[in-house]
Point group: C2
Chain length 688, copies 2
């Protein structure tokens, strides 16, 4: 379709011109005077528009090239595009016309031309998400916005249906070349009022199935979506601009279901024992979601009607409760889900007070592995890589995924609540006053502490004053991992986790506690915060469950080398990867290969919101995942027993050789010295 | 696929047998011991089943033939089917096993056999509707019922998703050969409870899009649908068994919107003047629908959850109000509909308290021609016939359809409320005490009356006693037609509708009324019930509007001869076709060609409920209809003027010649003598 053909078609070469769009490289031949926007439509180049050439939206800005483009044999002359027309010089829209830019809908092609479409003018633009630690993703939205001016209907126009629906459909076809959409029941009642209020000018949002999902009077520039990770403790949401792909507001709140039970199983018990309890739990979580969405919308002062989609991920029980499904079957073997598919529903049927939105609830993998894991999988990509990746999210259950591009396995392991500070004598939630970090001097056996709410360690100046305000109230989950690992490294416990009572003669930190011994972390007497033998046992059991689950998947995968470990979730974000390895929570792995990835589930939810392609990828990855049931695999029990010892029966001492060669310590925002100290100490140990 | 092939395939002819199903004539060859139900599946014969061969539902009853069937070259031996098995002899289901019948799921084929499938064992059976004056229709339901026994799920079953949805899907595939369906959001929460309550045995209803729309524990035998004509005055509903196609309950009630305005336009005015008024009107009609459905369900003692569909028809304003759409645009030019498509919505979104049902609201034809007309079209078939059919439904607007199989036209004409007794000095609704029939003696000019609630005419013995109980309170719509037609036939008014004042000298029935004259129908003095000159004018205007609309369509159709006139609705059911022709309401037509068809809209709604094919036919007929806009056609005004005279400017006297030859008088339930008298009188007139 180039010069030669153009000559044949048009007879006179000056009547047609070649146009090349960059960066796509799409090219075509168009008639003299065609607008760049029309040309983009003709050749299929991605050039955004909402107003369809009225000079209102400013989305179709392009940059004409200059000079020679040998690749396409084009030399762009100074008159390749016409002079700026009134529509451009008078344009004063939300997106200012930048120097050297033209409005694609106004600029007419008067010669061969190369036109660059900047990312901001592409519908499928690539967005880099710094805030959420996302890889760059290409926005692939489910919805498109179209502004139309619908002519006044007249009685007796032949062939005219005289319906608001067909009038809008005709206007879309004529003004945008868009196939007339279908109007679902829920939007029918809005057509007339919008046309009336906008004096015929309306903006419609159309979904991927060619349905009008929303209509507003006048020109509307942006539509929004919300991605939410519905955790059993916290609910975190991000509001995204669906056209730019930007995350523009974030908010979180406690899951109010906590009043029915701190952990998931106690909530399921509540449902079992209280008829209608599932409705109470559903109402509680939906209320929180409704409020969260309101808070997000308020942050940027938009109406809830501008939110067109809400993507929700959560564990299977949250998944069911959000959808109004009784989760009781998930509380007992065989842990049956109602469905493992992604579920789409009108948001108003989930009582979310989002009149134009649909809710997309991600797919579950198994009875204990939910849509939150599906989100984490999408974010971290264990199904995409060449290296075998281990993705672990530790809570009351640990969700474990292992895979590379060729095979993927998922399981959950019943770690229990010890890692969250429950079932630990001095355990508590990670709130102000909780000990979150511990270092034990291997010689004196004296501890140094880091307390949440106090910005210095206990041996730093000013600690005593500052800790008066917070108190020291207990030990949180990451603190427990720290102190047990340090106890092991300092020789306070042995490989079997036995607190060495003989040390009580050397230090007042080791004290008798009935027939066993305990280590005093803080305080004294009855108010002392101690780590007891039972606490160590609880951590051993939790750790063994986690590690056995991991080892089971590794065995299923053919025992590959695992060099890429991602620790997701709050626990993963706060524990020290080195300490996790010291205790054998995760297999040995070069330290740079171990990363805390934060709320990967939430990140995945944002990705699924912004890109249909990624959403499909997530559903496919979940479907192809091999589910391993730890409860029925006899091998799990054997692995569990082997994993009780520190760090592991198969590796009597941590394999620290790999770590010694590390050029840099692991940087962690508030514990920069941890890795350095850990390394130093380990060197001592391997040489003893 | 017959004996020869069977030999080739099986080697030994006794291993395979031929089976022929009647009445379909479908034939095939099956292995020895195949059940008749399996054979029906293999050859595609229509044999119903819900339980899938468990001997529970009794729907697959068949009648084996005996002797020779030359057509297929088969002689059926006594052992063509096996002996009755335990499943048959112990069968005690809802549908008793009739003598000579076998359960198709139990009877095994042991020789060549001809098997008859009675109508009651066919899924797509033909149903004759006597009660609703329906032509026989073939039930073509949107839903199928399947009973399955879902095995208990076990942890660790390889390849098992452990979801309720997939377990049911597998059971459906294995037990019925049904493709695993999708479970929409609304039903997901019901899966587990139903499986639990039924101990794994459930019945599911699947729609035409392969979605589970309802699930019940245990064996469920029947599902239901409701068809409703939502009139502006009355709402009438029929409850149908969706598998047998029978109408099993009917009920009606007043449209409670009447408190917002007697006629449609006053209700639209209410909406215009009261913000939120449309919501009040919507709530009123939905409440009535909800109650009506409850009454229908109570009549046969079923739960509302067994109702899977409600089909609604109504005029455009009712159509909009039921759907929650502001009807204001329909109250003023250009009378724009929100949509003219049929609209489907979950019934709970219309607040109908039908948890498993969807609502299907029929398509509209134009701003004044609604889904009720669409229903009437389906019932009467102006688009199906060889003769040109005129279908008229008279209310405040007259909906007029004219067509045959080659072309169809529709219009509405603004007749105003005169035909309903409004704008008439003594007019009233058709309730007890209203004069509904009048005969005037052409010699004495004395009237005879028929009063609603009194079972004899005014000159019959006993009338005086009986009428004391009811009183005579006014004249209803059909009474007005009667009296004006009789006044014309008796010469009390002339062709132009002028009351002949000169007659006041001959009879006290004609009295001065200001500058014009009136005819006294009943009573005397101030309490007299009279027909005034203004009343005559109102009827003339209404009649002219109706007739001009009809004539406009006849002209558009190329002025064909109209020999088939159907008068739909309450007005059509009560007026005397002869009197309608005397006044020129409808074109001249041999009297047997004029029929009152009652609530054709409701009949069409029932048909659309029972048959998807008929539903599609209705949508297609509506789409292909040529809409004629009376308000903008200049020709309408000319026709209107011409139609003011009685019977019509183009036909100075009624063409009664055709009627004289009639062998039988028109029979009307309560006015058997009307036609006879009318004929007699007309003979006099044509000879004078």
């Amino acid at each position: 379709m180039h010069a030669a053909i153009a000559k044949d078609v048009a007879g006179d070469v000056s009547d047609v011109h070649r146009i090349v769009f960059t960066p796509s490289g799409l090219t075509g031949t168009v008639e003299h005077g065609t607008t760049v926007l029309e040309a983009a439509r003709l050749v299929g180049a991605d050039l955004d528009t909402v107003c369809g050439g009225r000079g209102i939206c400013g989305r179709c800005q392009v940059v004409p090239g200059e000079g020679s483009f040998a690749k396409w044999g084009i030399t762009v002359g100074p008159d390749a595009l016409d002079e700026q027309a009134a529509i451009e010089t008078s344009y004063r829209g939300n997106r200012p016309l930048r120097p050297g830019h033209r409005l694609g809908c106004a600029a007419r092609i008067c010669g061969d031309v190369v036109v660059d479409v900047p990312a901001t003018s592409q519908r499928h633009r690539q967005v880099v998400r710094k805030d959420l630690d996302l890889p760059p993703i290409t926005v692939d939205p489910s919805f498109t916005l179209w502004y139309v001016e619908v002519p006044k209907l007249e009685l007796g126009t032949p062939g005219d249906d005289l319906t608001a629906e067909s009038a809008i459909g005709r206007a879309l076809a004529e003004q945008h070349g868009v196939q007339p959409p279908v109007t679902p029941f829920g939007v029918l009642a809005q057509l007339h009022p919008a046309l009336e209020a906008g004096a015929g000018a309306v903006t419609v949002a159309i979904d991927e199935a060619q349905r009008i999902v929303a209509i507003w009077p006048g020109f509307v520039d942006s539509i929004y979506g919300v991605a939410v990770d519905v955790g059993s403790t916290t609910i975190a949401g991000h509001l995204c601009d669906l056209t730019t792909g930007e995350v523009i507001a974030s908010a979180g709140r406690m899951n109010p279901q906590i009043r029915f039970g701190e952990d998931l199983m106690s909530r399921v018990s509540y449902v079992m024992m209280n008829p209608g309890g599932e409705r109470q739990l559903t109402e509680a979580v939906r209320t929180a979601l409704r409020e969260l969405v309101g808070e997000l919308a308020d942050q940027i002062a938009i109406g809830r009607d501008r939110i067109l989609e809400i993507v929700l991920v959560g564990n299977p029980i949250m998944h069911h409760l959000v959808l109004g499904i009784d989760p009781t079957p998930l509380g007992q073997a065989p842990f049956t889900l109602a469905t493992n598919r992604a579920v789409t529903a009108p948001a108003d049927q989930l009582d979310l007070d989002l009149p134009n939105a649909r809710a997309y609830v991600g797919p579950c993998i198994a009875g204990h592995v939910g849509a939150d894991t599906a989100g984490a999988i999408l974010a971290e990509g264990p199904h995409r890589g060449e290296r075998m990746q281990l993705l672990v999210d530790v809570g009351t259950n640990a969700e474990i995924v292992l895979g590379d591009a060729t095979r993927q396995y998922a399981a959950s392991s019943p770690t229990g609540p010890a890692f969250e500070g429950a079932q630990i004598s001095s355990g508590q939630r990670a709130t102000t006053g909780a000990i979150e970090g511990v270092r034990i001097d291997p010689v004196t056996l004296e501890p140094r502490l880091k307390v949440i709410g106090v910005d210095v360690w206990s041996d730093d100046p000013g600690f005593v004053q500052k800790v008066r305000r917070t108190g020291v109230t207990g030990i949180c989950g990451s603190g427990i991992i720290d102190v047990v690992a340090e106890m092991y490294l300092a020789g306070v416990i042995d490989r079997d986790g036995v607190v060495q009572g003989a040390l009580s003669e050397r230090t007042p930190r080791v004290v008798a506690d009935g027939r066993t011994f305990a280590y005093v972390v803080w305080g004294e007497g009855d108010s002392a915060i101690t780590v007891t033998q039972n606490d160590i046992r609880a951590i051993q059991l939790a750790k063994a469950a986690l590690r056995a689950g991991i080892d089971l998947l590794v065995e299923h995968a053919g025992t590959p080398e695992v060099t890429d470990i991602r620790l997701a979730g709050a626990f993963g974000a706060h524990i020290d990867p080195l300490h996790a390895m010291v205790l054998g929570l995760v297999p040995d792995c070069p330290l740079p290969g171990v990363r805390a990835v934060g709320n990967a589930a939430g990140t995945g939810a944002v990705q699924a919101l912004l890109s249909r392609q990624l959403r499909d990828e997530m559903e496919l990855a979940v479907r192809d995942m091999v589910k391993i049931e730890t409860a029925t695999e006899p091998r799990f029990q054997e692995l569990f027993v082997a994993a009780m010892a520190f760090p592991h029966a198969s590796a009597p001492t941590p394999n620290l050789a790999a770590l010694v060669a590390l050029p840099e310590p692991i940087e962690r925002s508030d514990r920069g010295d941890a890795a350095v100290r850990g390394r130093r100490r380990r060197r001592q140990e391997t040489t003893t």
